[in-house]
């Protein structure tokens, strides 16, 4: 019962805040809405039975990645700028086609799910130790790949960021 009480409000909050991200004018607000959305999703994880994943979601997504976003937004000082065209929420005209397609896609997804009557428990296995064992024993290759991706990401970020901090650098030095 507690789970149901947690799940559906969190889901509704997640959808609303996500919509707010898309339609907000100010990037700072948008980032904050996104953080709220992530909090809501982490509540969903908790309600599905895995406090560990909920914590991971909050710490890494909301805590690390979104803060990175916030830094950049503040660095670019976009919030203080007068509202340019590109910061305006998308108009109806720009929304028609993607809206239609996205709706079709959503209807299809739901139809598929309903038609399939997915069975099985909703209780997540919740043992971080077992999770760790499974990850490092069964999916060690994935761990390595993720590590390499992270390494490449950090190298790329450093390289591009260095060029960004020294504007005199010529483009050909970058590429």
């Amino acid at each position: 019962m507690m789970q149901i009480l947690m799940f559906y409000p969190s889901a509704v909050i997640a959808v609303i805040t996500t919509l707010m991200v898309i339609f907000s004018k100010n990037p700072v607000y948008a980032v904050l809405y996104l953080i709220m959305s992530l909090f809501a999703v982490s509540m969903v994880f908790w309600s599905l039975g895995s406090p560990f994943l909920a914590m991971v979601e909050i710490i890494i997504y909301a805590g690390a990645i979104m803060v990175l976003f916030l830094f950049v937004v503040m660095m670019l000082n976009l919030g203080q700028r007068r509202v340019d065209e590109d910061l305006r929420p998308p108009s109806g005209k720009a929304l028609i086609l993607p809206g239609i397609f996205a709706t079709i896609l959503l209807v299809q997804t739901i139809a598929c799910l309903m038609a399939g009557h997915p069975q099985g428990g909703t209780q997540l296995l919740n043992d971080p130790v077992a999770l760790g064992h499974a990850m490092y024993e069964k999916h060690y290759l994935g761990v390595k790949l993720a590590a390499i991706i992270l390494l490449i990401g950090s190298i790329g970020g450093m390289h591009l960021g260095r060029a960004a901090s020294f504007p005199d650098t010529k483009e050909k030095d970058l590429l």
Binding site: L97, P98, F101, A102, I104, L105, Q108, A111, C112, A115
Partner: protein
Amino acid sequence: MFVHNGIPALWVIPALPALGALIIFLFSKAMSPQTAGRIACGAVGLCFGWVAFCSSSLLGLPSADAHNAPYFHQELWTWLSAGIVQSKVAFLFDRVSMVFTIIVSGVGFLIHLYSYAYMDDDEGERRYFGYLNLFVASMLILVTADNAFFMFMGWEGVGACSFFLIGHYYSKSENCAAATKAFLVTRLGDIFLILGLLLCAKLVGVSFLNLSGFESVKEMEVVKGGWGMSGHALLTIAALLLLAGAAGKSAQLPLQTWLPDAMAGPTPVSALIHAATMVTAGVYLIARFHILFVASGTGMTAVAIVGAATAFYAATCACVQTDIKRILAYSTISQIGYMVLGLGVGAFSLGLFHFFTHAFYKACLFLASGTVIHSLHHEQNIYNMGGLKSKLKGTFAAFLLGSAALAGFPGTSGFFSKDAILWSALTTGFGNPVFYGVGLVTAFLTAVYSFRLIFVVFYGAPRKDIHVHHPSPLLVWPLLVLAFFAVTIGVLNLPGFVGFKSLAWEHFFHPIFGEFQAEPKEGWTHAHEAIFALIGAAVALGGILVSYTLFGPNAKMLPEPAGNIGDVENSTPKPYKSALANFLFHGWGMDQLYAAVFVRPVKRLSMINAWVDKVVVDGVYELIGAIVRAFHSLVVSFQNGRVGRYAMVMLFGVVAVTILVMSIIPR
């Protein structure tokens, strides 16, 4: 490598000048013009030496009976093998080839030496010598090839080199026009030639060796008819097509118009290509295919008619020209007409003999006129010359001897060769009195115009004040060598009535032409021949006498010029008062006739064609283009460079694929 089993390597003959051309063209940037000239002269000189060696080897072979002429044959590789077109890169060196290679390399060598001095101050000298060497190589391939298709390669090669060399002074547009005209007119003949060769290949084969294919022609029923025609009719068609090809190359009626204009090239080129060698390729062709022509019968008559008509036509035109080279050009057409007449009446060896003598005296005359032109700073109008006898002594001597040979002065080579042809034209089975009469009138005209040159150019007072600068020795002594041969070479075929070494040339070629060589009919004796020789001599001398009274130093200028004769150019519409003279001056108006009948309608047709092309044909493609552009503008809106649009297209794709998958997979 060069001599195998006593057979000299024949491929070396064309390879030497070809190598010279290759070296000159490859390294022309690095070498001086003089070096190019030396390489060219050296290549042709070596080639002449090798030809002399080959010839002496051939003559050293045990003498043959009537049907088996000795020959060298060398096969290198198969060039073409496609149905009836079977051709090998193979060389045949028999007595006909021998005569032609000696002329091409020997006279060619003298002309190369002459060119070395003549082209000294010309900026295109390297190009000139490259093409000259290439020409000699092509011409040698033409006359040593063992089958007609390989010969055709040389045939086209000489045509191309002729085109390049006529257009040597390409900065003047009329020279380019002359080159193009020569190229197109001879190409017209070549179309007939290749058609004729294909027909020949279909009927009897085109190998020259042992005339293998042609042996069957002797039995007429061997040649199968086809396309609703009998074998004999097809043979006649083939012969006429070959005749048209020969006429194009040898400037015979009705394709003769290119040769007078071809004089736009440097004078040594005129001497080598447009007098001594290339234009006689038609004679070579007919001589090689003589069995075909004899078998056809009608073909022989056509050859004789073309030859006689051309000889007369060109001789009349030569009488009123004012350009020294143009006179010689018409004279060349006329003399080749004699050769063709000789072939047409069955006297094949005499046609070749006239080619042999003509090569010497005409090359001599052309080179002498080149020396005159060179000494007078490129003045070509004979009425601006005069009184050069004392100033250019060596040249005058050569010119006089050459003209005597051309006019048929008794005792010179031209006298013997021409007279033998006239005798055959009267007496053989293919001949008749009309051919003889036309030939005789032409001989008279020849004497008149050749000595008109002598009298106008070398006698009298100078008509125009031009400084005569002294020619270098290299511009004179090749003339004297050629003049010597021009006078003396006639002893190779003294007439039958002489009794000493007479008809040596005809006997030499008897194994080649065999029974196809037409002999005088019954009833014509040596006594008759002597009488007709006397008539010939009298006509020549009479012509010279008439020429002296008409054009001599004391004569009034005939025909009467309409304006200042010294200003006359080749394009002047009415240089003379007399309409007949103007008619002859423009070559019987053949150029204008062709322009009206062929050139202008073709131009109009091509204008219509261009319009159709622009509107209809292009319209179709523009329509296709417009349709494609319409689709393009439909699709291009997806490619506007905005990420959002790409993402949306992707989303559309995802949705579409999902719908597809869901509708296919059964629930």
